[in-house]
């Protein structure tokens, strides 16, 4: 079996896992409320991604630094409160995008403080004798980028076909599917993207495996 080599390759891609191979929304199925509900237009998606990154990176950093000294139940409370404070601090950052962005996001802004990506990463890096802080930082950044990509993908599709605009600029379209603006299409689109990501991931894995095995056959004569 050539699984050792495959594993080695996986180790290399560990640094960028949050973007594609372990995308927090499509592959891991975390932070779904945002992917489903607020992706009705691109502005919402970008604004929420900014807040998400601003909250996730410092909180995970805090978790990896202080995780050894706190018991688990206390650490969850501390991180959640810290994240909520960061959410409040980062709200002014999204105001330039559009004046009514705060209203259109509504309760989904404070919910960033209790999202599952944050909890998962905090739990992973607050454990004793676990990997270094630099890994925590990398993961926080890549997961934020992956989250942003996922949200923008869904939001662009929903806005383009649902309301016939893109970033607020109207686009000429013969047919408008206004049903895409309703919550259920968020579920359905997320499901289809998730399936697509899984399919591509599996396909790439098979391809790599096949190439490796062929390569091994070529080099080893006996």
């Amino acid at each position: 079996m050539k699984l050792e080599k495959l594993r080695e390759r996986k180790k290399h891609s560990r640094w960028l896992e949050g973007i594609f191979s372990k995308n927090p929304v499509f592959v891991k199925g975390l932070a779904l409320p945002f992917a489903i509900m607020i992706t009705t237009n691109l502005k919402n998606a970008v604004a929420l991604s900014i807040i998400f990154a601003c909250v996730l990176i410092p909180t995970v950093l805090l978790a990896s630094l202080t995780g050894k000294y706190l018991p688990r139940w206390l650490s969850m409370m501390v991180y959640s409160l810290f994240a909520m404070a960061l959410v409040i601090a980062s709200i002014p950052l999204i105001q330039p995008i559009s004046p009514e962005i705060g209203d259109s996001l509504g309760i989904y802004i404070p919910i960033v403080a209790v999202n599952a990506v944050l909890q998962m990463l905090c739990l992973r890096y607050s454990e004793k004798n676990f990997s270094p802080t630099i890994m925590a930082l990398t993961d926080a950044v890549t997961y934020s980028i992956g989250f942003c990509l996922a949200l923008c993908l869904i939001a662009a599709l929903r806005e383009y076909f649902g309301s016939g605009t893109l970033w607020g600029i109207s686009v000429q379209l013969p047919v408008r599917l206004s049903g895409l603006q309703v919550a259920f299409s968020g579920f359905i689109l997320t499901a289809f993207f998730s399936a697509f990501f899984r399919f591509v991931k599996r396909f790439l894995l098979c391809l790599t495996y096949r190439r490796l095995s062929r390569h091994a056959e070529g080099t080893a004569p006996l």
Partner: protein, 345 residues
Amino acid sequence: MKLDKRPAPHIRFQDTNTTLMLDVVILLLVLCALAYLFYGLRALAVCGFSVAVAVVSDVLCSFLRGKKANVRDLSPVITGLIIALAMPATVSYYVVAAAVLFAIVVVKHPFGGTGNNVFNPAAAGFSFAAICWPLQVFMYPMPFAALDVAGTFSYKLQAFVYGDTVIKLFQNPAFVLKLGGTPTNDITEMILGNYPGPMGATNILVLLTCLIYLLFRRTIRWQLPIPYLASCAFMAFLFPRIGTNGIQSLLYEMMSGMLLFGAVFMITDPATSPKRDTSLVIYGIFTGIITMLFRYFGGFEESMSFAVLFANVFAPVIDRYNESIHRMIRRKNLEVRKAKRAQKA
């Protein structure tokens, strides 16, 4: 003793999937012919287009899933015909195409295709179209209006336009009921289907004949549509939306919209309904109550398809709990019998 050497499913009936589906297709074609009488060539064009889109997308989806397309599988034809017949004759072609694509690509194939689907594809497709284009789906032309095959629906006029002529569109009696008024349509006209409504769902007499035909052919079991209609009628009689007369309310509620059409063709889909007879009865009554509740409090005037989707989720639940109740009763009976035998001994 006579033994059957073949492996497990010992099917004694001569009916196959194909013949069961063919029965439904024949009846839907009869309704198509009726729609042709009422609305001319455009009705046939919409039906044909819908079926074509359904079959092509079904074949493509099977291909994507790595399976061969089954020629004997008529279910995409049924889905296409049901969606087309639930629409008005003036509907634009892209609405039909979107509804059919939603039904086949989103609702049918991800759940495993024919026989595995949890939700009724036709109901889901129609619901999607109703949410996206409520004006197109719920505005109907008068029967015997001269419709052109290539005509398009225009949003602004709320009318069907081609060339210079504009055809006026009307609401179904279901909409009047939703607003709280009494429909002015004549009852005999309604029985004969001579009022604005969905293409295939207006002629009550023909729909009842279809129901009786399917029941006698045993394509569908009476345990589903009869309790369904009974519970709908019961609800309409007890809680009338119009006036004070329960009978009038009952007549109008049962005949408006797609209630009867849905009862014959939508809820009886064997893949999405429960399996046991008693669970069928429970499911029928449950669906009836849900339909009437959606009609009374829902956001759309025609909520049959939404109610079917809602009830589909509960079908496996009903089947499982009913099965466990049956088992309990059987066990009790056995114990009683054992006790009697012990007493005798």
